[in-house]
Each structure stands twice: as C-alpha cells, then as structure tokens.
Symmetry: C2
Subunit: 180 residues, 2 copies
DNA sequence: CTTATGTTGACCGCTCCAGTAGACAAAAGA
DNA sequence: TCTTTTGTCTACTGGAGCGGTCAACATAAG
C-alpha cells in the first residue's frame, strides 16, 4: 500500500513551496527544497518538471530563478497529485473510480474482495480528496509556531540574494555512496 | 496505493477456501481455485506455499489432496495477510506501526506530510485489521443466496472424486498469450 | 560575458513483480 | 507394485519501474 518515493517527494516539495509562499517568499530554488528535505536534487528536478507540466507549479529561469505554485493552495488536493504521479488510489483496479478496470473474478457483484477493497479505497479517497495543500500548510505552520520551532525559508527575498552556501547539497549527493 | 497481484491472489484464494469450507467442503484443490478466479496455477502455487508457511492454510498431498484453512476464519485478518505478502500498510514507512523507519525530513513532529499520511494509514488499518475472513465469507454467501446466484464449490466431497474435466485450466494458461 | 539557475533528454543499475518450467514426493486406487 | 493425481521444491526469466546520475543547453541577472 505504499506510495512511491517519487510521489512522496512531490508532496514534500509542494508542501515546502506552500510554506515558503505563506511566509512571504514568492520563489523557492530547487537547491533549497533538496536541502530542506534532503532529497537527491536531480531526481527532484524531474518531479518538479512533471508537476509543472500538470499545472501545479511554475518556474522562473536564470539567476534568481526558482519554483512557485501555479494555482491557489486551496485547489491543490493530495489525491489528485498522487493520482498524477503514482496512478489510482484504489488498492485493486476493479474498485478504482478514476481508472476502473475489470478483474478476473467471475462475478464482480458478489466478490468479497471487491467489497472490502471498495471500503478501503473510499476511506483513502475520503482523506486525500478532501484535504488541500492549504490545510496542511496551515496546520504545519500553526504547530511550528506553537512549539516555537525555527521556521524554514525565513528571510523572504533577501536570503535568495545571499552568496548561497550550497556546498551541503553537492556533498550530500556524494556522501550517500556506499562501500560496495 | 496498489497491492500486488501476489497479495490480491492470496486474498482471493483464502476467501475461496473459506467459502468452500463454509459450504461443507473440507479440501479445495489448487486447480479449482485457479479455475474459479482464473489465475495462473503455478504462480498461485507459490502463494499458497507462502500462506502455508505462515500458518494460514495447510495441505494434504496425493490423490484427493488439496488445501484447507489452518486456523479459524475469525482469526484471519486481512491486514495481517497483506502485511505478510506486501509489507506494511502505511503509505510511507515513517508512519508504519509495524515497521517504522525514519524518513529524511528534518523534523518528524512538524512534518505536514507525515500528519496526513498517518491519517491515511490509520483509516486503512482500521478496516483491514478489523475485518476477518469470517466476516467476508459470511457477507459474500448471504449476497449470493439473496440474489440466487449459483454457489461455487458445490457438491461437497463427491465432486472431488469425479474424473475431473480440467482441460479448461490448461487451455486457460495458453489462451492468455498475446500476439506480440 | 560570466555566472547561477532551470530544461531537456539520455542513460543506467538494480530490484522486484509476475509468471514459467521441470523434476520430485506423497498418497490413493487398480 | 504401478499408475495417476495431487502437492512440493528449486531454478529461472522477461520486463517494468524505481531511484537515481550525467552532460549539454537555454535563459536571465549583474
């Protein structure tokens, strides 16, 4: 019942961009995203491209470039994003609403497995199709403030103009190699 | 959020064996299972072996052999079977109860994704860890009887002693080839 | 023109899924 | 005892997809 790393990273990136935006930052660079969540930068890039094609984010190129949300946070539902990246939410495709496919069982109407999995798919969808990026960003920020944790993406636009000490990221990529 | 074919077939097989047992049949042959659900027989065999190792089914060899449940249907929970075959129910492993693993995010306590996925995992587990094979078999049989559908695995032991017209199965295996 | 960013596309190693094949062991019946 | 019918065990495999990496290029700011 897992979602793929690809899907997971997509959601992390969206949430981070959302938080940054909520904190007054209009652009987030891929370096920052990768650093914040400790993700492989090039892989994340592919994912952001996919999110861009689907209209969730947009980007600005060149120096001082970066990514930003292409639609209001209230309109970004997690279910839709996961469907985009990972396919249907349903555990088996004969209970998928958005991508139904017949299965091999002789009689769907009296298939015990189908009844069960339909329940599962509905309760997954009930959550993922209800909550939006706006909800999650709001809750997250509230919790962070309540616990007085340092907020990420501080400093607004100013920080983007700093010399950017990004050695971390490059090191990160290499340090993951194992002694084979 | 899919479960694997392996997991799906395991559940189908268990439900079928359960139905057969409820109808007074104490043994079900793998041929019948494969035929009923139209599954590749040799693949199903591997899965049944795995279910046997885990103590869900047991088997009798030789002529008039077959598979049967090794524990009461009330004690077979779908969640446990899926965990056995497919691993944790949780969409991401940092919200798994049975197989927790730390993720890369800097602060789990304030991770928006984690909060969301914890909800998802709990509502999946609420269903799959609650319902047992007994529940599903009962509901399925009631529906079949209500709609006056022909019951599978009829005839008790008698049928197992018939000459067994199993050409279907062999043909089935070949007919799935596609014109490449 | 330099430098920092995003863009594109090719590539890749590996694992796992889904399934196949074949020889073998046990049990029942002739 | 021999045959037939079942399950058991082991090995293998094609293909897909996951989780990345790399190099070359386009764009924009200073």
């Amino acid at each position: 019942m897992k979602i793929s790393k690809r899907g997971e990273y997509a959601l992390r990136a969206l949430i981070d961009i959302g938080i940054a935006q909520e904190l007054g930052r209009e652009l987030v660079q891929i370096n920052e995203l990768a650093q914040q969540e400790r993700l492989p930068i090039k892989f994340l890039e592919q994912i952001l491209t996919q999110l861009k094609e689907a209209g969730y984010v947009d980007s600005k190129r060149g120096k001082l470039g970066g990514y930003f949300l292409a639609k209001p946070m209230k309109k970004i539902k997690f279910g839709a994003v996961i469907r985009l990246i990972d396919g249907p939410l349903a555990p088996i495709s004969c209970v998928s609403v958005t991508a139904y496919e017949r299965c091999t069982c002789p009689d769907e109407a009296h298939c015990g497995l189908r009844m069960l999995m339909l329940d599962v798919r509905n309760s997954i969808a009930a959550i993922l199709d209800r909550y939006t990026l706006a909800d999650t960003v709001e809750v997250t920020l509230r919790k962070m403030r309540r616990d007085k944790v340092a907020l990420p993406f501080l400093g607004g636009i100013l920080r983007a103009q700093l010399p950017a000490p990004l050695e971390f990221v490059k090191q990160n990529a290499k340090s993951k190699r194992k002694t084979k």
